[in-house]
Amino acid sequence: MKHRKSTMFLAASAAFLAGAAQADDPIKIGVPVGLSGANSVVAPSVVQSAELAVAQINEAGGLLGRPVELVVADDGSGAAGAQRAFDSLIFSDQVDALISMQTSAARNAGLPILSRGNVPYIYTSFYEGGSCHPNMFVNAWVPEQQVPPVVDHFQAEYGAETYFLIGSDYSFGRGMLEFTREYIEAGGGEVVGEEYLPMDGTDWAPILSNLRSSGADAVITSTAGGAPNVTLTRQMRGSGVDIPYANLAVDEGTAGDMGDVATGIYISASYITGIESDANAAFLAAMAEHFGDDLSTPNELSVPQYEGILAYAAAVEANGSTETAGIIEALAEVSVDGPRGTIVMDHQRHAPLTMYLGRVVDGGDVELVTEFDAVSPGEQCPDL
């Protein structure tokens, strides 16, 4: 089939001929990410860490002697934008792999196109779990990894037996809290309330009134990132709730920005900037050097992006080519030593992770409470 490329709008797109790879043809990594929409807050940091990874690979001589090139596309943080981004990366830019963090809606929307284009995909965002595709690997946490540290700590430290769960009404919010409820109940605790506010809701008052009258020992929330997190935290503090409080959806940076209302919040993460390891120190130094004043602080979403690219590089080296079937086999085996430690995506396309339980202290810093090694992602994709 012959295809004439419409160059009208495409300024920078290359590759007129989809022929065999030549020695100096770059290996292309596509990054569909929410440059606009909900994820646009975190997207710059994700793109930066991807850029660092690619720069480091190229400095070391590239992959199989070929340079690596990054192609970033906006997925608009939603389904329609993601389909466009996947189309453009796979069919127009003809990337060899996709590596990115996306909303669940965007990821899901991209999967059918992934099947048609048959390229490997590393998903680098924490999510509610259970998303499976033959071409997809995940190197970030799922509820099975994030929730147990929180609940275990609340039980051990505060003797908490009754819990109140509050979430934003969307897949992540509900998915996280459903698992949390099961985990609490399996451990002998009791969930005395589980309430959701629509994504764009702003008035948490009735939920907070129910929380106060429930007499729960502890509260665990899983709201959409950004605004709902802030409104809930502010209104919760404003209404005088002072029981132990864990937020499953707030990252280190936002918690710090929220000011003193955030003090005392527990967060559970696979990455915090304070991890004391040589790999993390080297990573942070390289980021600071590479981006200088423009640096977006590395976080729970940008670090897996960095490691995802390193994992793909390792898989290409192991496989000896970018051919998809081989890469998929290799991705399940290769290990990466990154800022979060050694990571292998060998558990049904997911990875065991070291989880950190932190607590926001005065001034917005996150103090490390305790860490849990090699927490298993559990049964995510038993059919793969």
Partner: protein
């Protein structure tokens, strides 16, 4: 019932029609060829983008029909699209992929669309609802629907959408052709529909819904039917979108998508199917290429372009281009067809009507606004062949009385019978069907329709308009025809009503009212703003028609000379009460009238009780 003679004759005798048909076929052929050849010359990415754009364009066309043509600004068409997408996605997820599932998915999508649209239509359109209210309801629909999707758990996939079902495994090129042909078919059929006799009703609704109601058209029902049809098409497009994309997501149903559709139609050109089509395709294409390069700038640019187009060129880019094309290459546009003016068959029952028959009986009619009583206990009867003038100073309740007689829901108490039937609680179009015709104080016609089309709308209740063809005849009852001819409107049948003089508009509206073949005609200050000569001619036409057709006319007038000249009886209203009811001589010479009129010499002019 069209026989062969009927179908072939127009083409033979009127070349305009055949050239028009030829042009339609040519345009269809060009687009059809483009759809077939497209995948061979476009790169795969563009082909992919265009497949989705085609499905979006189909909904945009329905938005154009609803908004551009019939004047219902809706943000809700995206919801019907989403409903269709989810129906297919859920059907395929729950029951697997196969032939019967496909039929069930598309059939179910359209059926659901129809049901939801009927509910939304019932909520949005009823006698007395405002366009603004209908628009707000169109915003509520996607918000409620998306909330239901979010709350649907695994069934609807909540915020992540339904994904991972098996669907058609066509090549993208095949999808391009399927979606492209579907788009062409929808646009083509819509074109036939909107340019048909029935399609003209849409523009009449847009221009002047009140006039439509007072021409006996059930505007609410009409709007609901159009919405239901458009919803079914949008749902089918949504199902196609989900079949191709392999996902149904909340944003496919959300109100942001609904507003984007409106933006596409506005930029492309509302009230032009091509405008909607081109607007949707180009915005989809451009945003696919530009949104990655300039994620935020792109939305800002769209916003600015949108506002600029709304403010400075409401007909959109396509409208401006079209106007330019009309100016520079006029030969490409067919000249308007010659309208054949004919006389319609009179209704059987009016021919033998008795002269003494009572047409209007109002008994003890009272109207209050809160504690304010505007009309109290007015009783009145009028018979065929009578021309009754209703006089009284400003604020006497004349226009209120006219309103009560024309709309069964207006009066606070009392009974009104027209042709013997009580009109309690009946909306205007039902009252009109009892034999009422109402001419408003300010000429109320369809501004963007031609004179001939305005008159055809008035006949739509009697001669059922075709959904497919465009008639070239204009059959009017004798009375309406005589008004058209004596006012000289027959020479301007092809002109749009907005270009008529004030006097001609008044005449046109009278002709439209008479085209209803009414038994009772209400005229509210029909001569206001007319020149003396026009007024004289109007008096002649009116008395002539009353005499010949044995109509019953109730007329509100300030000009006592005019009243004296034409009336067979005069009714005086004063402070909401019936003060006098008698012959011209009795009333004109009465002390009361002299007192009222000498005391209110300034009363001439507009009444401000609106």
């Amino acid at each position: 019932m069209p026989d062969i003679a009927n179908t072939t004759q127009p083409a033979a005798t009127r070349p305009a029609l055949s050239s028009r048909r030829l042009k339609r076929i040519a345009i269809l052929a060009v687009f059809g060829a483009a759809v077939l050849v497209g995948p061979l010359v476009l790169d795969p990415y563009t082909v992919n983008i265009l497949v989705r754009a085609f499905f979006v364009a189909i909904v945009a066309v329905t938005v154009d029909i609803l908004w551009g043509y019939s004047g219902y600004l809706t943000f809700g068409q995206g919801a019907f699209f989403g409903l269709g997408a989810y129906t297919l996605a859920i059907t395929f997820s729950e029951f697997g992929f196969g032939p019967w599932q496909t039929i069930a998915a598309f059939g179910g999508a359209m059926l659901l669309g129809v049901l939801v649209a009927a509910l939304v239509g019932w909520l949005s359109f009823y006698p007395g609802s405002t366009p603004l209210y209908a628009t707000i309801i169109s915003l509520v629909l996607p918000i409620v629907l998306v909330q239901l999707i979010y709350s649907g758990g695994n069934f609807t996939g909540a915020s992540s959408g339904v994904v991972g079902y098996l669907t058609f495994t066509f090549m993208t090129d095949t999808w391009f052709r399927i979606a492209g042909i579907a788009t062409l078919a929808v646009t083509g059929l819509s074109h036939v529909l909107v340019s048909s006799d029935a399609g003209r009703l849409l523009r009449a609704l847009r221009d002047n819904e009140m006039r439509c109601a007072y021409l006996g058209l059930d505007t609410s029902k009409l709007r609901i039917i159009v919405l239901v049809a458009c919803a079914a098409v949008a749902a089918a497009a949504g199902a196609g979108y989900a079949a191709f994309g392999g996902i149904a997501a909340p944003e496919n149903a959300g109100f942001i998508f609904g507003t984007q559709l409106v933006v596409m139609v506005a930029l492309g050109g509302r009230g032009m199917l091509m405008g909607a089509l081109v607007g949707a395709l180009s915005i989809e294409l451009a945003s696919a290429y530009l949104s990655s390069v300039l994620p935020f700038m792109w939305e800002l640019l769209v916003g600015i372009a949108f506002v600029a187009v709304i403010v400075t060129m409401p007909s959109g880019l396509f409208g401006v281009l079209g106007a330019a094309a009309r100016r520079w290459v006029p030969w490409a546009f067919s000249a308007p067809q010659q309208v054949m003016l004919k006389t319609a068959q009179a209704r059987a029952e009016t021919v033998q009507a008795g002269i003494d028959e009572t047409v209007l009986e109002a008994h003890d009619v009272t109207k209050t606004f809160g504690s304010l009583t505007v009309l109290s206990g007015v009783s009145l009867t009028a018979r065929r062949g009578e021309l009754v003038s209703l006089v009284g100073p400003n604020g006497a309740g004349k226009t209120t009385l006219i309103r009560c007689l024309a709309d069964g829901r207006e009066a606070s108490s009392g009974t009104i019978r027209i042709g013997g039937t009580p009109i309690d609680k009946l909306p205007p179009h039902r009252v009109v069907r009892l034999g009422l015709g109402r001419k408003f104080q300010a000429a109320s016609v369809f501004e963007t329709l031609t004179v001939a089309d305005c008159l055809r709308i008035a006949r739509a209740g009697r001669d059922r308009p075709s959904l497919v063809t465009t008639s070239t005849d204009l059959a009017l009852p004798a009375a309406a025809r005589s008004v058209v001819e004596s006012a000289g409107l027959d020479a301007r049948l092809d002109d749009e009503a907005r270009y008529l003089s004030h006097g001609l508009k008044q005449a046109l509206e009278l002709a439209m009212v008479l085209a209803l073949e009414p038994e009772l005609v209400l005229l509210d200050e029909p001569t206001a703003g007319l020149t003396r000569a026009e007024r004289q001619r109007f008096a002649a036409i009116l008395t002539d028609v009353v005499e010949r057709e044995q109509l019953c006319v109730l007329i509100v007038e300030h000009d006592l000379d005019f009243v004296r000249q034409i009336s067979s009886r005069i009714v005086v209203l004063h402070q909401g009460k019936l003060a006098l009811d008698g012959s011209v001589e009795e009333v004109v010479n009465s002390d009361l009238v002299n007192e009222i009129y000498s005391g209110h010499k300034v009363a001439k002019g507009k009444e401000v009780s609106q």
